[in-house]
Point group: C2
Chain length 363, copies 2
DNA sequence: CTGAAAGCGCTAACAC
DNA sequence: GTGTTAGCGCTTTCAG
């Protein structure tokens, strides 16, 4: 067979450049100890032969795979997609490749933890938004590589996440500052096995109410399942039919908040006139929907996770329990407004809870 | 150092099981020629040692990397995300890993085609939605591995895509069947370097009009840039201010169509009463927005691409110019309606072109 | 500054 | 059925 059938090896490049394979290796890896003249010859030979190094062979001897693996429960998602986009450039800059373990269901998950294919085939593992069992985490612990938990705080392990408590605190304060006192909270009832920072956000909400002297009322905290519109309708209905219905609603996730907006719009219930709605995430659809929200940046999270991964790969004896906590910020849009509608006298705005009567409007 | 510090190798497993490394290799790869008793011992030893095979070492000798690479311009995207979700299970079933080359800009792109990191490090490459130059395609041609173009027809190369012409034809017929005769078409002016099947969809639109005897009118074909709402507003404005404005609008992409809906809603222009709007894709937001659309399934595309990749990897002498064309189907929702509003007499619905006056309605 | 030699962990002939 | 042997294509001592 002609040599074109087979990938050229370093030996081929070496022969063409009239040097040894070692020299080719040193040259291609940028060692300073190679003379300019030899470097020139080697680089030309490599180019002419279309030589590409085999990571496999290299990693066999170095022990490094040149790969960072991510474990994700979903790929068609704003959060994961954005995080991977943040991660990508970091890895490229470090000369690392990205392998994706897509584990959408329990069967795939069991298989992953059973075989742990990342072992020996990656230099670090990023775990996205999984609510792992202690046993699963333990399996990852003896993977002999840095494992970084993304978008969740993992006790005793490296992790990158946003400050959900502070975010929810700030969001709730925003509603309080607008004069609202009856503030509902809509939780996302997640698919089990995944984590959505639900508890932290609820904590921040409660903390803000407490520091403002507003009594907590469990009736104001309801839940709905993302994607099941019926549960959204029910949850909203439950809130609005309370003796003292809320005048503002903090929804744990933008996607859910948008479903709320759509439900309210359908029933002719004006936002923000009769109910202010605040989301969390700054998902793309929040902008579409004009939803006020607490923004987090998944891209930043991905980038930070990538940088942490690189750092931990480089210094194997580094602090493997480092936590990187990213900030959030409020983005006020059209879905939140001061308690009293402009048609009422603004001076009253610190008055008692409204009974929810705003401007009536037909479809 | 204790052996726990280092990954166990096949030799370790072999020693523990009291057999040779070859036997371990054969056992772990499921060769039938291994006796039940030995298989048992080997598997136990492997489990006890937490042995994981090194792909690197294996691929060094087999020449197969066990990796399928994808080249994507974006990751935070409904299409790419869904396609990867379709691809994932196929690869897992075949024991292949997924590596992602995320190439968001021209610099990264130049670098990718310069170094071609996939060379020697993957068994197949899936190219997503890139509008490659002939030179770039040629580079991929001599990659010595199957290259599959996803979501585009690549002449003389393997590809997987939906039938955009037929889809747009069907969509336009839907509008024609509803009685519309003045039908606008909104093109997505893409970021250059990416492909969005724009021309094919326009072709289908024209074909449907022609076969229905409706004269083509270039004034009805306008363009807008996704993400730049100003361009959407302008395009829609241009259409509506025509002497004979359209009564229906076919928008090349759902995301753009949703921007159109939002523009129209803002200006109090009722959909579908005064303008029917039809999208293309069946993007998640189409459901949110109640947008009628021509559905394609990126998941199916990803799955088909994965299966094609596996097939081409298995049979190196297979037909490397295979095209897989997937169907689309119409999903009617609330954004398209018969030409005449219900308030008019239904019998008139086949009458002359309306001048666009529907039910007047304040906000 | 460069070359020779050894070996990373595995698989594929080939013996037995 | 199972063991032995010889590399796969690199990097890394170690000489010089």
């Amino acid at each position: 067979m002609s040599p074109a059938q087979r990938h050229p090896t370093m030996a081929d490049v070496a022969e063409r450049a009239g040097v040894s394979a070692s020299t080719v290796s040193r040259t291609l890896r940028g060692y300073a100890s190679v003379s300019a003249e030899v470097r020139e010859r080697v680089e030309r030979a490599a180019r002419e032969l279309n030589f590409a190094i085999s990571r496999q062979a290299a990693s066999l001897v170095t022990g490094k795979t040149g790969v960072v693996a991510v474990l994700v429960p979903i790929l068609n998602s704003w959060f994961v997609g954005s995080a991977l986009e943040g991660l990508g450039p970091v890895l490229r800059a470090a000369g690392l490749e990205l392998v994706v373990y897509y584990v959408p269901d329990m069967a795939a998950r069991a298989d992953f933890f059973e075989r742990l294919p990342a072992r020996r085939n990656a230099d670090a593992l990023l775990v996205f938004s999984f609510d792992l069992t202690e046993e699963e985490s333990a399996r990852l612990d003896d993977l002999q590589m840095p494992v970084i938990y993304v978008s969740q705080h993992a006790e005793g392990r490296a992790s990158v996440y946003v400050d959900d408590v502070a975010g929810a605190l700030g969001g709730t304060r925003h509603l309080l500052n607008l004069g609202h006192r009856r503030i509902g909270f809509l939780r996302a009832i997640g698919v089990s096995g995944f984590t959505f920072s639900s508890n932290e956000r609820l904590t921040g909400y409660r903390q803000a109410l407490t520091e403002a002297g507003v009594p907590l009322d469990d009736d104001l905290v309801v839940g709905a399942v993302l994607g099941q519109d019926r549960t959204v309708v029910e949850a909203v209905g439950r809130l609005l039919s309370l003796q003292q219905p809320p005048t503002a609603l903090f929804v744990e996730q933008d996607e859910l908040a948008v479903a709320v907006l759509s439900t309210l719009r359908t029933s002719g219930f004006d936002v923000p006139e009769r109910l202010s709605v605040l989301g969390f995430d700054d998902h793309d659809i929040a902008r579409w929907a004009g939803l006020s929200t607490i923004a987090q940046s998944p891209t930043d999270i991905g980038r930070a996770a990538g940088e942490l991964a690189c750092a931990l790969i480089e210094t194997p004896d580094a602090d493997r329990e480092r936590h990187i906590v990213l900030p959030t910020h409020l983005i006020p849009r059209a879905s939140t407004a001061p308690l009293m509608p402009p048609s009422a006298t603004p001076e009253e705005s610190r008055g008692a809870a409204s009974d929810g009567r705003g401007t009536a409007s037909g479809a």
